[in-house]
C-alpha cells in the first residue's frame, strides 16, 4: 500500500492517541477551598488585628444575609440546569415575601414558608409558560416577570395589608421561627473563641456562628443544597431534568418529556426563590413582615452567586456565603475591616499562585501573583474604604471573581436555547 500512501519524511510518526487524566472529585476541592479560606481569614484577623473577620457574630450575620441569596441561587440552579435562564428570580422572590407575610400573619411561619413557595411557583409558572411553551426569550420573560412581581405585590398589599396594618407598603407583623443552638457545643466553642488563640479561636468562632441561633428555615435552606445535589445528580428525575438543559433533542429522542421537565424545573425554581423571599422576613433579626422593596435586588445577586458557583450546588453555596460574608462584614464594621478582607484575599491568591506553580501553570500563577500584588497595594495604600463604595463590596468581589474565573465556568450546553418538540435533526 505504501506505493500510493507515501509518508512524508517528517510527518511519518503517528502521534500518540490522547489519554485522559483522572481528576479530584468536586467535594474534596470544595473542602480544600473552605479550609484555605478559613485559614486565610484567621491569619488575616491575626495580622490585621481585626477580630471581626472570624467573630461568631459576623458569621451569624453572614448566614442571615446569605440564606435568601442561597435560596435564590438554588432557584437559578434548578431552572438553568433544565436550560431555562431565570432572571425573573427577583420578581419571584418579591412574590414570595408577599405570600409569606400574607399567610404568615394569619397562620404562622410554617404556612408562611409554604405560601411563599406557592407564590414564587406562580411566578415560575408564568416564566415557564412564556419560555417553554411560547419560546419567548428567557431574559425578556424574566424582565417582564420582575415588573409583574413588583406591581402585583404593591397592588395586593394596598388591597389586603393596608386594612390590617393601615400601611400600604407593609404587612402586619408575622410570627417568627424560634432559633436553635447546638448545645453544649455552642457554649464550648464560645469558650474556645474567647481564649483568643490564633487559628483555634477563629475556627471556633466560625463554627459557633454556624451552630448558634439557627432558625429552622436556615436549616431548611442549608439542607436544600445537598438535597438539590442528590435530586439533580443522583436521581432519575434529576438526570432527565439536566438532560433537558444539555441536549433536549436527545432527551426527547429517548422519550423524555422535555416540556414537562422544564416546567417542573422552572416552577421549582420559582418556589425556591419564593422561599428565599420568605427568609427575608422569617429569619431571626429581620423585620417580621412584608416591606415594599425589601428584596433590594437579592434575586439578581442570587443569580450571580449561582454563576459564580459554576452551576453547582456546592459552588453556589460558596458564592452566597461570600456575598453574605462580605455584606455582613461591611455592615457590621465598615470600611476598615473591609481592608482586612483584602488582606485575606491576598493570602488566598498567594496560596493559589503557589498551587499553580506546583501544577506547572506558570502563566496563570504569574497572573494570580500580579492580582495579589495589586490587592496588597490597595490594602497598603488605602486605610479605609469610602463607606459609599464599601457598601457595594460584594458586587465588586463578584465582578473580580467572574473576571478571573469566567472562562472556567461551564453552563449547561443548551442553557437559554429555545426548544421545540419534533424540530431536531
Amino acid at each position: 500500500m505504501t506505493t500510493v500512501i507515501s509518508n512524508p519524511a517528517d510527518g511519518g510518526a503517528v502521534p500518540p492517541a490522547p489519554r485522559q487524566s483522572r481528576k479530584l472529585p468536586g467535594w474534596s476541592k470544595g473542602l480544600i477551598w473552605v479550609a484555605a479560606v478559613i485559614a486565610a481569614l484567621s491569619v488575616a484577623s491575626y495580622m490585621t488585628g481585626v477580630a471581626q473577620l472570624t467573630a461568631t457574630g459576623t458569621i451569624q450575620t453572614a448566614l442571615v444575609l446569605a440564606i435568601p441569596i442561597l435560596l435564590a441561587a438554588l432557584g437559578g440552579l434548578w431552572a438553568e440546569r433544565a436550560g431555562v435562564i431565570n432572571i425573573g428570580l427577583e420578581g419571584m422572590m418579591i412574590m414570595g415575601t408577599w405570600g409569606a407575610a400574607w399567610a404568615g400573619y394569619q397562620w404562622g411561619p410554617w404556612v408562611a414558608v409554604l405560601a411563599a413557595a406557592a407564590f414564587g411557583a406562580i411566578g415560575g409558572l408564568v416564566h415557564a409558560v412564556a419560555t417553554v411553551t411560547f419560546g419567548v426569550n428567557h431574559i425578556v420573560s424574566g424582565v417582564a416577570i420582575n415588573l409583574l412581581g413588583a406591581g402585583l405585590t404593591k397592588y395586593l398589599s394596598t388591597l389586603l395589608f393596608q386594612p390590617v396594618s393601615n400601611n400600604p407598603r407593609e404587612s402586619p407583623p408575622v410570627e417568627k421561627f424560634d432559633t436553635y443552638s447546638m448545645q453544649p457545643l455552642s457554649d464550648w466553642l464560645a469558650d474556645l473563641e474567647n481564649m483568643q488563640r490564633v487559628g483555634l479561636s477563629d475556627v471556633a468562632g466560625v463554627l459557633r456562628g454556624l451552630v448558634t441561633g439557627i432558625s429552622p428555615l436556615t436549616m431548611l435552606a442549608l439542607l436544600l443544597v445537598p438535597v438539590s445535589y442528590l435530586v439533580l445528580w443522583r436521581s432519575r428525575f434529576g438526570l432527565r431534568l439536566r438532560s433537558c438543559g444539555e441536549n433536549p433533542t436527545a432527551a426527547e429522542s429517548l422519550g423524555v418529556n422535555v416540556y414537562l421537565h422544564k416546567y417542573f424545573a422552572v416552577i421549582i425554581s420559582g418556589a425556591l426563590a419564593g422561599i428565599g423571599g420568605a427568609a427575608l422576613l422569617l429569619t431571626p433579626g429581620v423585620h417580621p413582615g412584608y416591606l415594599e422593596g425589601q428584596t433590594g435586588g437579592r434575586g439578581y445577586i442570587g443569580l450571580a452567586a449561582m454563576i459564580f458557583g459554576n452551576w453547582r450546588p456546592t459552588g453556589l453555596l460558596g458564592g452566597s456565603a461570600l456575598f453574605g460574608y462580605a455584606d455582613g462584614l461591611q455592615l457590621r464594621s465598615g470600611g476598615s475591616t473591609v481592608m482586612a478582607l483584602f488582606y485575606a484575599a491576598v493570602l488566598v491568591l498567594f496560596a493559589g499562585a503557589v498551587a499553580l506553580v506546583f501544577m506547572r501553570k506558570y502563566f496563570a500563577a504569574g497572573i494570580t501573583l500580579l492580582g495579589a500584588a495589586v490587592l496588597y497595594f490597595i490594602y497598603w495604600s488605602v486605610d479605609e474604604m469610602p463607606s459609599q463604595l464599601s457598601t457595594y463590596l460584594p458586587h465588586m468581589v463578584t465582578l473580580v471573581v467572574l473576571a478571573v474565573a469566567a472562562q472556567r465556568l461551564r453552563p449547561p450546553a443548551a442553557n437559554g436555547d429555545e426548544y421545540r418538540r419534533g424540530r431536531g435533526h
Binding site: Q52, A55, G57, Q60, T61, V64, L65, Q162, S165, N166, N167, P168, R169, E170, P172, P173, D178, T179, Y180, S181, M182, Q183, N194, G213, L280, T283, P284, G285, V286, H287, P288, G289, L291, E292, G293, Q294, G296, G297, D327, G328, L331, R332, S333, G334, S387, Q388, T391
Partner: protein, 360 residues
C-alpha cells in the same frame, strides 16, 4: 443535642466597658419653657386642604403618617371638613414631572392650602408654586428659595437628636453607644450630628459608633431591616449598648437586634414605643426622638385658617415643640427628665448651639 434558644439575651457582645463618667448635669430648667401654649381657636371649615405625600403615603408609620395626623387634628379642632381633604401620594422612582403634576392637579382643583410632604418635592414646588400665586403651599423638610407662597416646615432634628444622645449617654452601661442611619443623606446626617453632640455633652469620653446602611441615592437603606439588624449587631458586638436609629423601616431591624442582645434602643420621628409594627420589641425602646410633623402641619393649617402666616416659625425646634422626646415605657425616670429639660432649656436659650453637620 439542639436546644431551643430561650428569649434570654445572649449577652451584649464581647467588648467590655464601664459606666460613663458623666459631665456635670445642667441647671434644672425653669418649668414650662416650651410649647404648652394655650390652644388657639380658628375656623378652618372653608379650607380645602391638599396633602401630597412622599413614597408610602398615609400609614407609613413615619413622617407621612405624622403629617396626616396633623391634618386629622385640624379636622377635629379647626372644623376642616373631611371631604375637603385631598391626599395623593408619590410612587417609587417616579419622574420629577410626576411630582409637579401632582401639585398642579391639586392646585388646579382649587385646593388651598397644599402641603407637600418630603424634601423630594422641593424642586417641583419651585417650578409649580409661581404659576399659582394665590395658592398657599407648604413643604416639609425643605425650604424653597424665591417662592413667596411656599411655607417651609423644617425641623431641628439635630436638637431632638441631641437629647437622644444625652439619654443614650445616661443609659449606657459601657459608655459606648451607636447610631444607625438609613441612607446617608444630609437630612439623616442632622440626626447623627445632634446625637453625637448630645452624647459628648453628657459624657465627654463616650464612644460613639455610627453606620449608614446605604449611601445617598440608594434609598433601599430605608427599607432593609435585615441590613439594619446586621449593622446594629455589629455595634453591639463592638460594645455599644444604646442604639439610636434614623433608618425608617430598617430601624425595625435595629430594634430586633437590640432585643436579641438585651441592649436599649431609641426610636425616631414618632413615639415608636406605641407603634404596632414593632410592638414585639417595644420593651427595648427607652425613648423616641419626636419630630412633630403633625404639630407643624397643624400650626400651619391654623395659621392659614387665621390667614396669618407671619407668625410661622422659621424652624420647628424645641422652642415651638417641633421636636421632642417620648417617655412612654417609663424608662426615662424623673431625674433623667430633669436633666433633659435642663439641656433643652440651654438649647432654647442658645447657651448650647447644636450644629446640624456631622463633625466627622
Amino acid at each position: 443535642g439542639c436546644a431551643k434558644d430561650s428569649g434570654a439575651p445572649s449577652g451584649g457582645g464581647n467588648a467590655s466597658g464601664s459606666e460613663c463618667k458623666l459631665a456635670p448635669k445642667p441647671p434644672a430648667a425653669a418649668a414650662g419653657t416650651t410649647s404648652s401654649k394655650a390652644p388657639e381657636k380658628a375656623d378652618g371649615s372653608a379650607l380645602k386642604v391638599g396633602l401630597a405625600f412622599d413614597i408610602g403615603g398615609r400609614g407609613d408609620a413615619s413622617f407621612n403618617d405624622s403629617a396626616a395626623a396633623g391634618v386629622d387634628k385640624a379636622i377635629a379642632d379647626l372644623g376642616v371638613k373631611k371631604e375637603n381633604v385631598k391626599e395623593l401620594s408619590a410612587g417609587p422612582n417616579e419622574a420629577e414631572s410626576a411630582k409637579q403634576t401632582r401639585l398642579r392637579q391639586l392646585a388646579a382643583d382649587g385646593v388651598n392650602p397644599i402641603i407637600a410632604v418630603g424634601f423630594a418635592y422641593a424642586d417641583a414646588l419651585k417650578a409649580v408654586a409661581p404659576s399659582f400665586p394665590n395658592t398657599k403651599f407648604a413643604i416639609v423638610d425643605a425650604t424653597v428659595e424665591g417662592a413667596t407662597n411656599v411655607t417651609p416646615l423644617v425641623f431641628a432634628e439635630e436638637q431632638g437628636s441631641f437629647l437622644s444622645g444625652v439619654i443614650a449617654a445616661y443609659k449606657s452601661k459601657k459608655c459606648n453607644v451607636g447610631f444607625v442611619g438609613g441612607v446617608e443623606t444630609p437630612l439623616i446626617q442632622k440626626f447623627e450630628a445632634g446625637y453625637y453632640q448630645g452624647a459628648k455633652a453628657a459624657a465627654p469620653d463616650i464612644k460613639i459608633s455610627k453606620k449608614y446602611l446605604t449611601p445617598a441615592g440608594d434609598f433601599t437603606g430605608f427599607q432593609d431591616p435585615a441590613k439594619g439588624n446586621a449593622a446594629a449587631q455589629g455595634m453591639v458586638s463592638g460594645g455599644s449598648d444604646v442604639l439610636y436609629h434614623a433608618a425608617g423601616a430598617s430601624g425595625k431591624g435595629v430594634f430586633t437586634a437590640a432585643k436579641a442582645a438585651g441592649v436599649s434602643a431609641i426610636g425616631v420621628d414618632s413615639d415608636q414605643y406605641n407603634q404596632k409594627t414593632v410592638e414585639q420589641e417595644k420593651d427595648v425602646i427607652i425613648s423616641s426622638m419626636l419630630k412633630r410633623v403633625d404639630v407643624a402641619v397643624f400650626d400651619y393649617l391654623l395659621a392659614v385658617a387665621k390667614n396669618d402666616l407671619s407668625k410661622m416659625p422659621k424652624v420647628f425646634d424645641f422652642s415651638v415643640g417641633g421636636v421632642g422626646y417620648s417617655t412612654s415605657g417609663g424608662k426615662i425616670d424623673a431625674d433623667l427628665q430633669a436633666v433633659l429639660e435642663g439641656y433643652k432649656a440651654q438649647i432654647v436659650s442658645g447657651q448650647i448651639k447644636v450644629s446640624d453637620k456631622p463633625t466627622s
